[in-house]
């Protein structure tokens, strides 16, 4: 089963980390992914820019309107996601727990995926 692990955290906190704090967390996060990567179970990984860089297209009216900022104002924002291939929800949760140890605070939403097209993007 493919899962998306959606990372939520307070952007206010995350984007006031110092460079050293940032690097320390990133190093630990990469280490936490290693097991899944080696097992060939880790798909695309994305980190999103802060919501201040976001634009929303509201299409519930005609014509659709463009709004600055994210879709919803919440205390925690969607800051990134992983795509993983797991045998069970428990395995996905274990992965999220490992990530959580590297980066405390916030929440991971483990969401089964209904459709996945890897696409042809090359970085």
């Amino acid at each position: 089963m493919l899962y998306a692990v959606l990372c939520y955290n307070s952007e206010e906190t995350v984007f006031s980390w110092s460079k050293q704090e940032e690097e320390a967390v990133m190093t630990k996060l990469i280490a936490a992914q290693e097991k899944m990567a080696k097992a060939g179970k880790l798909g695309p990984v994305a980190r999103l820019m802060p919501t201040t860089a976001a634009t929303t297209l509201r299409k519930d009216r005609e014509p659709a309107v463009v709004i600055d900022g994210p879709f919803a104002e919440t205390k925690e924002q969607l800051l990134g996601f992983y795509v993983i291939d797991c045998e069970s929800l428990e395995e996905a949760l274990d992965f999220a727990r490992d990530l959580g140890k590297a980066n405390p605070g916030g929440a991971y939403e483990i969401r089964p995926m209904a459709l996945f097209r890897p696409g042809s993007l090359r970085q």
């Binding site: 206010e12 906190t13 006031s16 704090e21 802060p50 600055d68």
Partner: protein, 421 residues
Amino acid sequence: MNDIAWIDAALTSARPRAVSALLRYFRNLDSAEEAFQNACLKALDSWPRNGPPRDPAAWLIMVGRNVGIDDARRKAKQQALPDEEALSDLSDAEAEIADRLDDSRYRDDILRLLFICCHPDLPATQQIGLALRVVSGLTVPQIARAFLVSESAMEQRITRAKSRIAKADVPFETPGAPERAERLGAVAGMIYLIFNEGYSATGGELPLRAPLCEEAIRLVRLLLRLFQNEPEIMGLMALMLLQHARAAARFDKDGSIILLEDQDRSLWDKQMIAEGLALIDKAMRHRRPGPYQVQAAIAALHARAARPEETDWAQIDLLYATLERLTPSPVVTLNRAVAISKLRGPEAALQMIEPLAPDLSGYFYFFGVKGAMLQQLGRNEEARIAFDRAIALANNAAEAAHIRSHLDRLQNNGAPASKKV
């Protein structure tokens, strides 16, 4: 991160929100700061045991307010009150206060706190010192280091600023739209001042002062989160990100200046550039141009050029022309002349800057540009005179050393150097 590092980061990021809300309660900067300090002490005790609260700022405001009120009572009655009781059942209270303090309230609170720091009675250096102390929560020694002054001098500067503000009328009522726009403009200017304090650092000062750039970016991020559809705030943030992205490439190992066109562009911070470009794109959609947006757009054209030869000088010239219209100044025209020199040669650029001479007779950069133009034209004797003048006006050793390298080239081969300022 361990517990303490995490709590520290949470306290730092909650500070502007918490101090500014406490200021609204206590209407006095010192009381607000003290209440925040006390709330932080409680947090260090409570959070490791109970886990961090969902909304650290709301928790700190609640606790800070209670402690502050207790303190005030105690001082009034000269007797101790049981403060654990007043603090009981925080979890319920937290949800309640978080509801009451909706984002629009926070918005004006934080803007007020920042606006107080740029009170027109305060000289720029005091404004910046105060903002870094009160809003960012840097310690006095940290700020003193960044400003290259002694701790006692900085302490005095901040104390003076505070006492001036205590005497001034602080507007506590909710601002109307025009006041809000005016405050936003003043605050943006102050944040850019903080940035430039860091950006103008050279040589050995660099490691001490560069954190000012990061702090300014943090503050503008905060401001943009509160005012999500202000194109000038997007522009300011883009401008600072695009400039700061070049930090690692701006100086060589000896601390000498490396010009934009000579910089190793692989050292530019790609993440910062990407965010800066995204923001300027967003800002331009509003079709409400302002000086920060235009300057950011110029920086964006430099950032987009993989090699200096690919720089779109024609577009840069147009943007400087816009900037001249928005904020006419001889310095802007001088910058435009550099673009003109790339488009139409040094002769045209010289013609453009000649009329600026009376206004810029004390400006290092004017003589640097003038000397470089003359040098390109092979008018070496005049170039030498301009460069000598530039050295005399240099603001620091790095600037002087940079011009001296031009002079050396003049002396060594007498031929026009290929490098341009």
